[in-house]
């Protein structure tokens, strides 16, 4: 699929440097891309991949360095320049307008604003979608499409603009392994037709599968550039994190009693997001239950049910064999359900509140007030305990939480969750929804070891993650969600990633739910 080293260079980033205050996000980063080649840009969260792409697309202006496409320099800070030069980007968060049709989204920005627009758009879209194997209906409202379909629209958008270079930012994060294979097939067609691809990822097996060459970024610097066929996953991983990976792995333990049970719980669909379909789930003491699945398959609905934010339309929630009544976030907390929310910025914390106020957000009524009067002294002491006990790096409890890094914010939320529960004997059930997303390796290891420690103390942990490696490393029992349905539980070590992938794609669910 590659035309080899001799092929023409289509894109050249030359010693790009970008600083944000004291942080150097990109430090003299250079990268070349040749015709017909797939280059993987590999790096952890925060390694500088996104910043580099934002500079290429003129969203940021580099402090130093230059960008050249097809031999012509790109003017800095001009978002149109890269598009006009034939560089197309598929963002991780899709940039589509849900109220417009597929065709309208594709045409957006391709015609002069004051022109009448031109015909022929539909024919071109239909031709591209045939040539590249990107099936999607041009008149469908984007708001009603599945995530996989939306990604196809994004790729069509780039192709419609005659992109010769495609940049894909973490494209598989939202896909099943099988959908990813289809994407890879599209990319192979594209390179065969002479397009070039930059594939941004932190998933090593995908990089090995699709890329010809691999550029590894760490802390804003290029730390290695290797041909994929001349390396292996271990070597790439070492380059990526700068040392051996030492994430905690939980050892198996005997499960305890069922603390919480969902019995045939269903919730209504919400737009394109499926609700739960007769989900039955046991959460046992002393056990980490992993919930695998592509995001948007009902995990959010499940998390809302367990966290008290929603009630089942059908079915029951049982706590220690008794059906719950008056289920709400407050009730969940009082009954010993601790929650680490998926979105720590919008759900887990209040940006302009200080650490003290954020620390008591869940327990201000039960533990830090009397008859409606706040006890700020006790609240502050509590915050200080969390800061010391969970290694939250901060100037002090009066710091506003938005000034903290993601990892330190998550540690405060973790400390707050672990201090909850009836009479503060600690939580019995811990709902950890994407607890390490966006954190650096040190914080990931810390958060995961705390979850294991909680399990060892007898808590029941429900770990929701899109990262199959994380699920398989930590869970005593694994369930898979697909289209709102829940697979049976699989004991540790009984399933391979590929088998779980088939469940994630929904292929293993029998016909029992088809109607």
């Amino acid at each position: 699929m590659s035309e080899g080293k001799g092929a023409e260079v289509v894109l050249r980033l030359d010693r790009i440097t970008k600083r944000f205050g004291a942080l150097t996000a990109n430090d003299a980063v250079s990268l070349t891309l040749r015709r017909g080649e797939v280059v993987a840009l590999l790096g952890e969260n925060g390694a500088g991949k996104t910043t580099l792409m934002n500079i290429l697309f003129g969203h940021y202006v580099a402090d130093e360095g230059s960008v050249e496409a097809f031999g012509q320099p790109l003017p800095p800070g001009n978002p149109r320049a890269a598009l006009q030069a034939g560089v197309g980007m598929v963002h991780q968060h899709f940039t589509l307008a849900g109220n417009l049709t597929v065709l309208e989204n594709i045409r957006l920005g391709t015609e002069g604003l004051w022109s009448r627009g031109h015909g022929g758009a539909r024919a071109k879209v239909e031709r591209l979608s045939r040539d590249f194997g990107l099936a999607v209906h041009p008149d469908a409202k984007v708001g009603r499409l599945s995530v996989g379909e939306r990604q196809r629209v994004e790729i069509l958008k780039a192709l419609y603009r005659d992109a010769r270079i495609l940049i894909l930012d973490e494209p598989t994060a939202v896909l099943t392994p099988q959908e990813s294979e289809a994407l890879f097939a599209t990319l192979r067609k594209a390179t065969a037709l002479g397009l070039s691809v930059i594939f941004i990822s932190h998933k090593l097996h995908e990089v090995m599968a699709i890329a010809d060459r691999c550029v590894v970024l760490r802390h804003g610097r290029v730390v290695g550039e290797v041909d994929t066929h001349a390396t292996d996953k271990g070597a790439l991983a070492a380059l990526m994190v700068g040392g051996e990976l030492s994430l905690p792995r939980a050892e198996a333990r005997a499960p305890g009693a069922v603390l919480m049970k969902l019995d045939s719980v269903s919730t209504p669909d919400r737009g394109a997001a499926p609700g739960l379909k007769k989900v039955t789930l046991d959460l046992r003491a002393g056990q980490i239950t992993g919930l695998a699945g592509v995001s948007g398959n009902g995990q959010a609905a499940l998390a809302e049910i367990i966290g008290g934010l929603a009630l089942p339309a059908e079915g029951t929630i049982l706590l220690k064999n008794a059906p719950v009544t008056g289920w709400s976030p407050g009730e969940a907390l009082a009954r010993g359900v601790a929650r680490i929310p998926e979105d720590r910025h919008h759900q887990g914390s209040i940006a302009d509140f200080d650490l003290t106020e954020n620390a008591v957000l869940e327990a201000y009524r039960s533990r830090f007030s009397r008859r409606g009067w706040m006890n700020w002294r006790a609240a502050r002491e509590f915050a200080e305990t969390i800061i010391a006990g969970y290694d939250v790096r901060c100037p002090g409890p009066e710091t506003r939480i938005r000034l903290l890094s993601g990892g330190n914010m998550q540690k405060l939320i973790l400390g707050r969750a672990m201090a909850g529960g009836p009479e503060t004997g600690g939580p019995e059930i811990i709902l950890a929804n994407q607890p390490v997303r966006g954190l650096d390796v040190g914080a990931i290891a810390y958060v995961q070891s705390q979850l294991i420690a909680a399990r060892d103390r007898g808590s029941s942990v429900l770990l929701i993650s899109e990262d199959l490696d994380e699920i398989m490393g930590l869970s005593d029992v694994i369930h898979v969600m697909s289209q709102g349905r829940l697979s049976p539980g699989f004991a540790r070590g009984t399933m391979t990633a590929a088998e779980l992938g088939l469940w994630m794609a929904g292929q293993k669910f029998g016909d029992r739910d088809a109607a």
């Binding site: 976030p329 907390l333 929310p341 919008h346």
Partner: protein, 347 residues
Amino acid sequence: MRLEAIANPSAVRRLGLPALALVLTMGVAMALALVAGANPLAVLGQIATGALGSKLAILETLNRATPLIFTGLAVAVAFRAKLWNIGAEAQLYAGAIVAVVLGTGALGSPLVLPVSAAVAMLAGALLLLGPVLLKTRLGVDEVVTTLLLNFIMLLFVSYLLEGPMKDPGGMGWPKSTPLIPEARLPRIVEGLRLHWGFALAILAAVVVWVIQTRTTLGFEIRAVGQNPEAARFAGMPVNAVLVKTALLSGGLAALAGWSEVAGLKGHLSSDLSPGFGYTGIIVAMLALLHPLGVILTAIFVAGIFVGSDAMSRAAGVPTYIADMLMATALLFMVLAILLTRVRVVRG
């Protein structure tokens, strides 16, 4: 251009920019004076002396500030929870109506004052309850509903004044029958034209301040205003907090009308409020929604209005200059407050 958050804004930035906003407003005042063909410095001086130049002027300013403290507090409490109560004008009239209903003989001393104040607050609170329930239950934007209610309320007042409440001795002027003496708020100091409504307004500001900083309700109001999603996730009863906020806000606005009738006018007329409800928004924003700050900004705003009246008589610059300056100050101030937290960067 792009906005970038400043981690730790300096004191100069935090205090200097709001001060600059007021200086710029003064600049606008001088420019308007020039447009009107008057001497800019003289106009500023006449506004200042008109507001504070004599004992009489000061008392007039404080009297004018009284309803503004109440409406300013009403807005500050509501905006803190991001509850956009633009209906303080209607709630004010609700309080004024109660002052007349209970103050014209239905109740006697010593019950009439405390009872009518309490019922007035209740009336204002209930008036805001409707829009808030529409917001929490159906997602109807409360800005538009509270604004529309202002117009409906004014028409209702007009109906009352021409019908059931009409003063038989009013010589055709649309005003209500006067309050009985027992229903009037006495003056703070005998001989000085300043009634107890002013003291009550100060007390209300202190109470609101204590609620906001020391109570769980205050904590909840701030949390719901800053991030309702996180508040709900943490187990706060978001809708109940909004309803409580609305009751407090509506009640405070109603006291503005109640104290104008019981303290100052002694009767209800349809020109009781020259937009005190709307001006309360400016008072609250200038005070950065701080309840104690509302006292100061209400006096400042009242001073501009009182001073402009005096200046207008002397210098011939239309008195509407005061409204223009307040709107200008509001816009400058929200921009200044933003710029204390972010800087504008290129790219």
